[in-house]
């Protein structure tokens, strides 16, 4: 387990390193000041927020409705439905 734990932390370092490097290299207080003072950036922040919230809301509601309908189907049909659900997840993004 000890080796595995060390390995796990190594992996985490691998995943976090790029972000840490960017933070250390790029951030300074004045950069944040500029960011907050820039109305264009703030508008795009707001747009992203609205977009993200709307997506999450619609997707959750649709997912909930579908999940609620699923148990009403026989096993075979359920297999097809859950299978087709994975299609866009697995097919290459660029195809769409």
């Amino acid at each position: 387990m000890k080796i595995l734990r060390t390995y796990m932390w190594g992996l985490l370092l691998f995943l976090w390193a790029p972000l840490l490097v960017v933070l250390i290299k790029g951030s300074s207080l004045s950069a944040f000041e500029k960011l907050l003072g820039n109305t264009e950036v703030m508008v795009s922040f707001r747009n992203s927020l609205v977009l993200g919230l709307a997506t999450a809301l619609i997707a959750t509601v649709l997912g909930l409705i579908t999940a609620f309908a699923l148990p009403a189907f026989p096993e075979r049909a359920r297999g097809w439905i859950t299978g087709s659900l994975l299609l866009p997840l697995v097919l290459p993004e660029i195809a769409f």
Partner: protein, 262 residues
């Protein structure tokens, strides 16, 4: 009939309207003909498919498959021990590590990729990694690792610790536990995970473009070029149709494992 079944309608609409219909359009476009302005004349032409079987393009296909295969094998090999480690922890601790694993991936894809390139450019790596095949594979590994750990974790979690202990009590070495107990029990989820990281990698275009510096030509790069630069939509569509065909064949073999896993 259970009236709850009617609730499936939005999903069916979504599936046909937003997944099946675009695919159908792609197939139609692939049989079309490019006019002088880069538009599509629909029809029944095989020229795009014939072009794709030119050795030049077959090489691109082959290189893409090679890249995706190497990346998937490495990603699985890197994720498996981590997933096993997580599966032996109690829930609270596992949740901590999983969060640590996923948080970096809330950052925008592009920013993450540029940051990763910054690391590749650091001194110890030097120029040996940027703009190379292995740099691309490293970036893919970096990008897909958490997506491999998660399903493997949920599969390995179902293997009781008592089973591993029993195997060890009966004299199994660590290697034997791995290959004769854990591996057979998780073969299906491993297949599913392989597909989960392999198929999206086939269509990856930002990583070859940025990390590879556009020097290595891959399927994703090719598609991007056909749709945005050369504007030969029929040719691009034909390549996508083949890509989806390939992905579907793989899904038919491994999809069951994937659906069971989800």
């Amino acid at each position: 009939m259970d009236r709850r079944r009617l609730l499936i309608i939005p999903y069916i609409l979504w599936l046909f309207g937003l997944v099946a219909a675009p695919f159908l359009l792609i197939v139609m476009a692939s049989f079309g003909h490019r006019d002088e302005n880069g538009g599509i004349q629909y029809g029944l032409h095989w020229e795009s498919y014939a072009t794709l079987f030119d050795p030049l393009y077959l090489e691109v296909f082959g290189r893409t498959l090679l890249m995706a295969t190497i990346h998937s094998v490495l990603t699985l090999a890197a994720a498996y021990p981590a997933a096993f480690f997580l599966s032996r922890l109690d829930r609270t601790k596992a949740a901590f590590y999983l969060t640590m694993l996923l948080v970096p991936f809330w950052t925008n894809y592009l920013i993450r990729l540029l940051a990763f390139m910054d690391v590749l450019r650091l001194h110890p790596f030097g120029l040996e990694w940027t703009f190379t095949f292995r740099g691309i594979v490293a970036a893919l590994l970096y990008n897909y690792l958490p997506f491999a750990v998660l399903p493997l974790y949920s599969a390995l979690e179902k293997v009781p610790t008592s089973l591993i202990e029993a195997a060890q009590d009966l004299g199994a070495s660590k290697r034997q536990v791995l290959f004769q107990v854990l591996w057979p029990m998780t073969r299906k989820p491993v297949t599913a995970t392989f597909l989960l990281v392999f198929i999206p990698a086939l269509g990856e275009f930002l990583i070859p473009e940025l990390v590879g510096g556009g020097q290595n030509f891959f399927l994703g790069t090719f598609l991007q070029q056909q749709f945005l630069t050369t504007r030969n939509w029929p040719l691009g569509s034909a390549a996508i149709a083949l890509l989806i065909l390939l992905a579907s064949i793989m899904l038919m073999f491994g999809g069951k494992a994937l659906a069971e896993d989800a």
